[in-house]
């Protein structure tokens, strides 16, 4: 047994879960799929005194669309998202991205809410939530609040939840039909952690780009939007030159953390290439080409 001893709690409803969170505060930790938390506990990087297991909270296992806004319960398994028809219709980008999260056995257990709340700066799903201007529903004993993705990710592995709040739902507003999407990332080996990745949505009016969102993971302390590149593209005719220009404009803004797998310079260079490729793919899809 590798983790330090802990008290195990298995609430079966959101209400019970947030009661426990209120009771334990900083001495409690939410356990979702456990695919990241157990790693940290096995190395004793994290030693929670109370583990609040939300796996039995099955009321948070759902994917539904509400006027096109896709609502994903926090306890929904990543493998459920991967196979969801609703998600394929309303958030194809999310489905494309989740296939890059580790391996099938990990996605069978890992949850959408867990991945978002964990806020790993290199992680795929937070980048998609940010690209889609998603919202996060945080629940506590006294009620709920909804935060924009841009306000939720606060730093590496740090989110805006207070100790008594539980992330209960991820909401992804719809993009118009005909939107092209692309999620691309660079991994040493399929299923490994990405050195960097990018999520792109593009909507065309004729041949010109009337709406675009680009976000990146693995290039800063949180997932980030490439605002400069988005501004540069909006209103422009889509062409290889303008994609190149946008990618060029995005790269210097990025502040990758140095780590042994790739220097900041290398990651910036990757970002440039991947933004361009993702734009090309998203535009091809927006035009209905394969």
């Amino acid at each position: 047994m590798k983790p330090a001893p802990f008290h195990y709690h298995a609430p079966t409803s959101t209400g019970e879960a947030v009661e426990l969170l209120a009771e334990f505060g900083d001495r409690g930790r939410v356990l979702a799929g456990g695919q990241s938390l157990f790693q940290l506990m096995n190395f004793r990087v994290v030693k929670p005194e109370n583990l609040i297991d939300i796996n039995p909270v099955t009321e948070l296992d759902y994917i539904r669309s509400d006027n096109g806004t896709l609502a994903i319960g926090a306890r929904t398994r990543q493998s459920t998202l991967e196979r969801s028809r609703e998600a394929a219709e309303w958030a194809t980008l999310m489905v494309e991205a989740v296939k890059n999260v580790a391996h099938p056995s990990v996605r069978n257990r890992g949850t959408v809410g867990g991945s978002v709340a964990y806020a790993d700066p290199a992680s795929e799903l937070p980048a998609v939530v940010l690209a889609m201007d998603g919202e996060l529903v945080l629940t506590r004993g006294q009620g709920q609040r909804t935060l924009a993705a841009a306000d939720f990710f606060r730093g590496p592995y740090t989110n805006a939840c207070s100790a008594d709040e539980l992330l209960t739902e991820v909401r992804l507003p719809p993009w118009p039909s005909g939107t092209g999407h692309a999620f691309l990332e660079f991994q040493r080996k399929h299923g490994s952690y990405a050195l960097m990745g990018t999520a792109v949505l593009v909507h065309l009016d004729g041949d010109s780009i009337d709406r675009v969102a680009i976000s990146l993971c693995g290039v800063d302390e949180t997932p980030v939007r490439a605002h400069k590149a988005e501004e540069l593209l909006t209103g422009n005719a889509s062409s290889e030159e303008v994609f190149e220009e946008a990618a060029e404009a995005a790269a210097p803004e990025l502040k990758p953390l140095p780590d042994p797998k790739g220097s900041p310079e290398y990651r910036r260079k990757l970002a440039k290439v991947y933004i361009r490729r993702a734009l090309e793919l998203a535009v091809r899809r927006a035009k209905g080409e394969r």
Partner: protein
């Protein structure tokens, strides 16, 4: 403050009632409490897949699931593949195609292959590679493992 709980788990068709410490992983419970040492423990942090078992029909890393979380679940381990002393067609295929060298990763490989072929009984070699990238083989015998899974798929289709 070691916290213990009673659990009831169905493993390979037999129900087991047991009291376990909360921090004990499913892999450790299977090996130490039930003596089912076919499930191997490799990296103990979810990377290698040696400890892969099916939990309610879906493959999981049993080093990243607590035994208490398997309460009321159905588990299938490598020991549950053979029937009446007859190897499962996948096991026969791994044997004949030399889909193992040291054998350490094999239980996880077999369980993952079993899930993969349940979802797609007739995968291409490329799909097998992609699907089996879930698990690591430190002998790097992937070529034969892929051939064994393809051969096993054929045996299962013809069974």
């Amino acid at each position: 403050m070691s916290h213990r709980r009673r659990i009831s788990v169905v493993v390979n068709g037999s129900r087991h009632e047991s009291e376990v410490e909360a921090r004990k992983y499913l892999a450790e419970f299977l090996r130490e409490d039930l003596g089912l040492v076919g499930t191997h423990i490799g990296c103990e942090h979810g990377v290698c897949g040696a400890c892969t078992v099916l939990m309610d029909g879906a493959s999981v890393r049993s080093c990243l699931v607590l035994a208490v979380q398997a309460n009321e679940a159905e588990i299938l381990t490598v020991e549950g593949l053979a029937r009446d002393g007859q190897m499962h067609p996948l096991q026969e295929a791994f044997w004949e195609k030399q889909g193992l060298q040291c054998g350490y990763c094999t239980p996880g490989m077999l369980v993952r292959a079993y899930e993969l072929l349940r979802e797609d009984p007739d995968p291409t070699a490329e799909e097998v590679r992609e699907g089996m990238s879930n698990n690591l083989c430190r002998c790097t015998g992937y070529q034969y493992i892929v051939e064994a899974v393809l051969d096993g798929a054929e045996r299962m289709r013809n069974a």
